[in-house]
Symmetry: C2
Subunit: 358 residues, 2 copies
C-alpha cells in the first residue's frame, strides 16, 4: 500500500537548472523536434485506441518532465487529443489533471514558474523516480515519458569494480568498451525497463496508454556507430586527456561511468513482451532528420551533452574541470565532425496500451 | 471544466526561501507549536466525523504548505489518524495521496528535498492559490490549511487610493488606522474567505473535512491590542523612521500595505455560515501558551515578522532597506516588550465537514 522509501541514488540526473548558461532548458531544441514529430502519432493513438471509462477525473502524467518547456508541449498535445476524443465520444464532463513527475531534486521551481497561463488542466507535480511506484493503483490514464528512459537508474554493477572482468578501466561509457561492460549496461537497462513497466502496469488503468520516446540504435548497428554514443565516447577521451595533463587522477576516471544506455527497437520490444502487461499499439522509428547533430554546430552538440552530464561530472570531479573538459570536447567534436555525421541516430516512439484481460 | 488562468498577483507571499538566513523554514517555530497543539483536535475529528466512502484513493491536501517542515508534521498527524480510522473500520485497501499546495512561486525545491524518507503516502504538489480552484470536483477528502488564511489575496481596495476616504496614508497596516481602512481590510477578508470556502465546497467530497488554523483576535478585543497587529504596527513606525532619515520616500510608504488580516472567532463563524456548504464540527481557541512572542526574544519576534513580510517589502522597496528596517524593528520591539506581552493573541482551530445534503 505504501509507496515506501524512494532512494535517490547519486546516479540520478539532476539536469543543469534554469539559471545555468548551459541549462537543459535552452539546450533541449533537439528533444523539442522529437516531441513535435511524435504529436501526430500520439494523436492517432488517443483517437483510435484510448478506452475512456466512467469517472470524472482523467489523469495524465509526464514522467521525467525536467524543467520545461518540452514537457508543456508534450502535455498540450496529449490534452488536446484527449479533449477532442471526449467531445467526439460525448462523454460526461471530465476534469483533466496533469501530474508532472520527476525526482525530488529536479528544479520544480523553474518548471512551475513557466506553467502555461492558458492551460486547460489542473497542474500537479508528483515526486519520485519513474523506476519506482509514483502513483496509486489504477489511477493514471495516460503516461508520457519522453527522452527519459535512456537514463539508467544507476551505474551498472561491476563496471566500477576493479576485481570484475566488467571493470571499465580508462573509460566512462560502454560503447567502445569490451563485451563484458556492454553486457552489464544492457542487463541494467533490462532491469530498469522491467521496473518501469511493472510500476506503470499497476498504476495505469486497464485500457490506458503509455507513450515512450527514446533515442535509439538501429537494430544491428554496433554501439560504437551510434551518434549519441560517439558523442559520449569523445567525452571519455577528453577525460583521459585531462588525466595526461595531470588535472585529474586516472583512478577517478576508472571509477566514473555515465549511466546512459541507448536501446534498440528489438530490445524495447523484448522488454515489453517480457513484462507482458501491455500491448504494443505502435512502434515507430522517427526519421533521421531528428538526428541529434542535424543542424547543430560542434559547440551546440557539446553544450547538449554538457546539459545532460554536467550534474554527474560535478558530483564526481567538482566544478573545476567542467569548462576545460567541455572546451576540449567541443574541439574534439569539431575534429570528428565528418565521422559523426556518418554515425547512426534514430529516435523511437512506442505507444503501449494496458491490457484489460489481466 | 478548466481551472482557468490563475493570476499570481504581486500580493502573494513568497516566503523567504530556504537559502536565506531569515528563512521561513528556520523561523516557523511558533507555527510548529500551534501545529502540535492541533494534533489531538484533528485526531478526534477524523475518528468521530470523517465519513469514509468507497474508492481506493484517499486524497489529503495541505494548502499553503510553504517549504516545510511544518507541513510534514501536519500531514503526518492527519495521515496517522486516517490510517487508524481505516484500520478500525476495516475499509478496503486505500492509497493515500498527499497534495502539497502552494502558489507557483513557492520554493518547492526546498520542500521536495526534505520530504520525509519514511512517509507512507504518495507525495504530490498542486500548484495554485487556495483562493482559486486547485482540484477537480469532489476529489479531496481532507483539506488542511494551517497559518495561511490570514494572508489576504491582495491589498484591499482603496487603501492605496489617494482619492479614497480609505486611503491609508502614513501607515502600512490597518490595525492602528481609521475605521474606513479597517473596514476595507475586513471586507477583503470576507471576500477571500468566501472564495476559499466556495472553491473547497466544490473540491471536497461530501462528508470530507477541512481543518483551518489561523492566528486570531479574541472577540471584542480592539485590532490594535492584538500582538500580531502590534508587531506589524511597530514595523509601520520603522518605515516612517526611514522616511524621516531620507532612506525612502513618504509616497512609497503611502502606497505600501501589508495584506494580512487577523480574524476573530465570530468573523470566521459568520463566513462559514454565510457560505453554507460546511457544518462546523469544532471551533477551538488554542490556549495562550501558543502566543507568538511566548518565549521569544525581540530578535526572534522580529526575525519571524521578517520571514513573513520580506518578500513583499523587497518587491516594493528593493533589498537595500531590509537590514536597516529590521534592525530598527528589533530595537523598537525591545523597547515595546512590556506593552507587547500585555497584548492578546490566540490561535483558532476550526474543523469543517462538507455537508452531504446539498
Amino acid at each position: 500500500m505504501a509507496p515506501g522509501r524512494t532512494n535517490f541514488s547519486s546516479h540520478e540526473f539532476p539536469m543543469a537548472s534554469g539559471a545555468s548558461p548551459f541549462s537543459y532548458r535552452t539546450n533541449s531544441a533537439y528533444q523539442r523536434r522529437v516531441v513535435r514529430a511524435t504529436k501526430q502519432l500520439m494523436h492517432a493513438v488517443v483517437m483510435e485506441k484510448l478506452q475512456v471509462e466512467n469517472g470524472s477525473i482523467f489523469q495524465i502524467t509526464d514522467m521525467g518532465c525536467s524543467i520545461g518547456p518540452n514537457t508543456f508541449i508534450s502535455v498540450k498535445n496529449i490534452v488536446e487529443s484527449v479533449e477532442l476524443k471526449f467531445k467526439l465520444m460525448n462523454t460526461q464532463e471530465k476534469h483533466i489533471q496533469v501530474l508532472f513527475n520527476d525526482h525530488a531534486y529536479n528544479d520544480f521551481n523553474t518548471l512551475f514558474a513557466s506553467l502555461p497561463s492558458d492551460k486547460s488542466y489542473y497542474a500537479h507535480a508528483a515526486i519520485g523516480s519513474f523506476y519506482d511506484r509514483v502513483f496509486p493503483d489504477k489511477s493514471i490514464h495516460i503516461v508520457n515519458c519522453s527522452y527519459g528512459l535512456h537514463f539508467l537508474s544507476r551505474v551498472p554493477n561491476n563496471v566500477e569494480n576493479r576485481e570484475s572482468v566488467a571493470w571499465n578501466k580508462g573509460k566512462v561509457y560502454y560503447s567502445h568498451s569490451k563485451e563484458e561492460v556492454i553486457s552489464e549496461y544492457s542487463k541494467q537497462y533490462e532491469k530498469d525497463m522491467e521496473c518501469f513497466l511493472n510500476a506503470r502496469a499497476q498504476e495505469v488503468v486497464p485500457g490506458g496508454l503509455v507513450f515512450i520516446t527514446v533515442p535509439a540504435r538501429p537494430n544491428g548497428t554496433p554501439h560504437s556507430k551510434v551518434i549519441y554514443n560517439m558523442l559520449a565516447d569523445i567525452l571519455g577521451s577528453c577525460f583521459l586527456h585531462l588525466v595526461k595533463q595531470g588535472d585529474i587522477e586516472e583512478e577517478e576516471v576508472d571509477s566514473f561511468n555515465i549511466p546512459v544506455y541507448i536501446t534498440s527497437p528489438i530490445e524495447v520490444e523484448e522488454a515489453i513482451k517480457r513484462n507482458g502487461s501491455f500491448s504494443i499499439e505502435k512502434l515507430e522509428i522517427l526519421s533521421k532528420e531528428t538526428s541529434p547533430i542535424n543542424g547543430l554546430t560542434a559547440k551546440d552538440a557539446s553544450v547538449h551533452i554538457r546539459a545532460i552530464t554536467e550534474g554527474l561530472i560535478e558530483e564526481k570531479f567538482g566544478t573545476k574541470i567542467l569548462d576545460k573538459l567541455f572546451q576540449l570536447h567541443e574541439q574534439k567534436l569539431e575534429d570528428a565532425y565528418l565521422d559523426l555525421i556518418s554515425g547512426e541516430a534514430i529516435s523511437l516512439f512506442i505507444a503501449l496500451k494496458r491490457k484489460t484481460n489481466l
